[in-house]
């Protein structure tokens, strides 16, 4: 079952800093929507996602899931990170089970189902260190799903993977979130990823972090990257992104080393 998320005027200033990292962010995400959050490096995407997960409490404003204020992490809103960060002393099954173990539950059928869902039934008893990067990230995904979350939060979950594995996993996660009826928020540097996975793409500006625009992606799943509609949607998003946050002066880029991934994807598109 999915949940609606409401972000109510979040402003966040990190300790020891004077300027806010996030400024007055207001956002409603209806239940079951897949949202992608794009913006330049350091604009505060991860910060915002951590707040949705209850791993960070904003200095002003609040996050509500299902109308309830998020004040601490919960297995009901689960976050997946760029690194799979599996526990190497547990095998694949034990890793996936962990959330249930914490809750004092046992549900072998569910774990079997999840293993099947992420295509790792054969690897259930294996050590996680013997898996490939893509397989490890699949285990992390299954682990996030084991506690039947209503919200799945993804922080650049596939950026460390090769292009083929990445595309496969993007499609799989998009399929699974639909199938399991989850609300999804994905943070990404990759415009293609946003177009491949999201119903709606939010564009964030930096200093301070604000949501400055959004773009609807109305394409059916699974999304075929070779189709003209896909390219058109990507083009449209890119144009919007450039007009909103793309006017970074070259000196600034050199100074901070920002926005490399976005520039890369721009070049690919050109």
């Amino acid at each position: 079952m999915s949940a609606n998320i409401s972000i109510d005027f979040i402003t966040h200033t990190f300790k020891g800093q004077t300027d806010p990292t996030l400024n007055n962010i207001e956002l409603k995400i209806p239940a079951g929507e897949r949202v992608a959050l794009i913006g330049r490096s350091g604009c505060g995407k991860s910060t915002l996602l951590h707040m949705l997960a209850g791993l960070l409490i904003p200095t002003e404003g609040c996050v509500r899931i299902h109308g309830h204020q998020v004040t601490r992490p919960s297995a009901k809103w689960n976050m997946m990170f760029q690194k799979p960060s599996l526990y190497p002393w547990m095998n694949v099954r034990q890793n996936i089970e962990l959330g249930l173990t914490f809750a004092g539950q046992k549900n072998p059928e569910k774990i079997d189902y999840l293993l099947d869902l992420v295509g790792l039934s054969e690897k259930a008893e294996e050590h996680v260190q013997s898996l490939s990067g893509g397989q490890q990230q699949r285990v992390a995904l299954a682990r996030s799903l084991a506690t039947s979350p209503e919200v799945l939060l993804l922080d650049e979950p596939f950026s460390a993977l090769d292009a083929f594995t990445r595309a496969t996993l993007q499609d799989e996660v998009a399929r699974i979130t639909g199938q399991e009826d989850l609300t999804m928020v994905i943070v990404t540097h990759d415009i293609d990823e946003a177009v491949a996975m999201a119903d709606r793409v939010l564009i964030m500006s930096a200093n301070p972090g604000e949501i400055v625009g959004e773009e609807q992606v109305d394409l059916p799943f699974p999304r075929d990257r070779s189709r003209a509609e896909f390219s058109r949607a990507r083009e449209q998003l890119m144009t919007k992104f450039d007009s909103l946050v793309g006017d970074v002066k070259p000196a600034e880029i050199r100074q901070t080393g920002q926005s490399k991934a976005l520039d890369d994807s721009k070049q690919q598109a050109a």
Binding site: K83, S85, F102
Partner: protein, 279 residues
């Protein structure tokens, strides 16, 4: 070790049968090298014994040499004296280490987890750590009603630091993401400790215990010079007083052998609790 068998072995390996060369190499590594090491050690001991025996001033210590020591060792093993002397020492070591772990691991975890605890404890711990465990002797004797209590205290005081610091270091090396993920999956404090922290630092704890066993074993002998009338330290002291140098040397061998095996156990445990690159 002529060139012929080696080349023969190589041919066998090439023909794809059992790899005699690799087998030979690993057997040589596993058995041959240690044998050389032991041989050199015995040779030096024998030379030392010979030098003592051939010097009129030290002649009376000649029993210190390997031959009398080993025949004495056989005798003492057969009549149970070796076990009689070792058992109390092992019990004291065990108890001392137990205290070191019971105190060192929780404190180490706290030091590793909390910067405030780390900063508060830094000066006191570094200060206390530098005090030779033997310097505690007079205090131990005053503070404990029994000699045994005092000895266990001295061992614990020596053994706690490696356990504590190794634990703390292990905790600090834990990937912060492991905490985040576990919290996100609903772990409470106790579950975090039991399912994440302790398994993550198991090998660090046992690496600390391995070092602790080393220092505890070193502290044991002088500590057993205190009041008690049992244990390996006492046996050595007693042998010296009664001028039985063969017994003295035999007990030194016993100490070395037991220490070696204790270390071996620790290495096994470190491996068992290690999760790095397991296949």
């Amino acid at each position: 070790m002529s060139a012929t068998p080696a080349s023969l072995n190589m041919n066998t390996a090439r023909e794809g049968g059992f790899d005699w060369k690799a087998f030979g190499m690993s057997a040589w590594r596993g058995i041959g090298y240690p044998v050389i090491g032991i041989g050199v050690m015995l040779a030096l001991w024998w030379l030392g014994g010979w030098a003592i025996a051939s010097n009129p001033d030290t002649e009376s210590f000649a029993d210190f040499a390997p031959a009398p020591a080993f025949s004495r060792l056989l005798e003492l093993t057969a009549n149970g004296y070796v076990w009689e002397a070792s058992a109390p020492s092992l019990a004291r070591i065990g108890l001392g280490l137990l205290w070191a772990v019971v105190i060192g691991v929780p404190v180490g975890v706290a030091v590793g987890l909390y910067a405030s605890v780390r900063e508060i404890s830094h000066v006191p711990f570094q200060f206390l750590r530098m005090i030779s465990p033997l310097a505690w002797m007079p205090i131990a004797v005053l503070a404990f009603a029994t000699w045994d209590g005092a000895i266990v205290f001295l061992i614990a005081v020596a053994a706690i630091w490696p356990v504590l610091f190794s634990t703390a270091q292990g905790v600090r090396r834990i990937d912060p993401l492991w905490f985040k993920v576990a919290k996100n999956l609903g772990a409470d404090g106790l579950q975090m400790l039991r399912r994440i922290i302790l398994p993550a630092i198991g090998q660090d704890i046992f690496a600390g215990i391995r070092l602790a066993v080393g220092v505890a074993w070193i502290v044991l002998v002088p500590a057993e010079y205190l009041g008690v009338t049992s244990g390996l330290g006492y046996a050595i002291n007693d042998a010296r007083d009664t001028l039985e140098y063969d017994t003295l040397a035999a007990m030194v061998v016993v100490i070395g052998v037991i220490g070696f095996f204790l270390d071996g156990i620790c290495v096994k445990l470190i491996k068992k609790f290690s999760w790095h690159n397991q296949d």
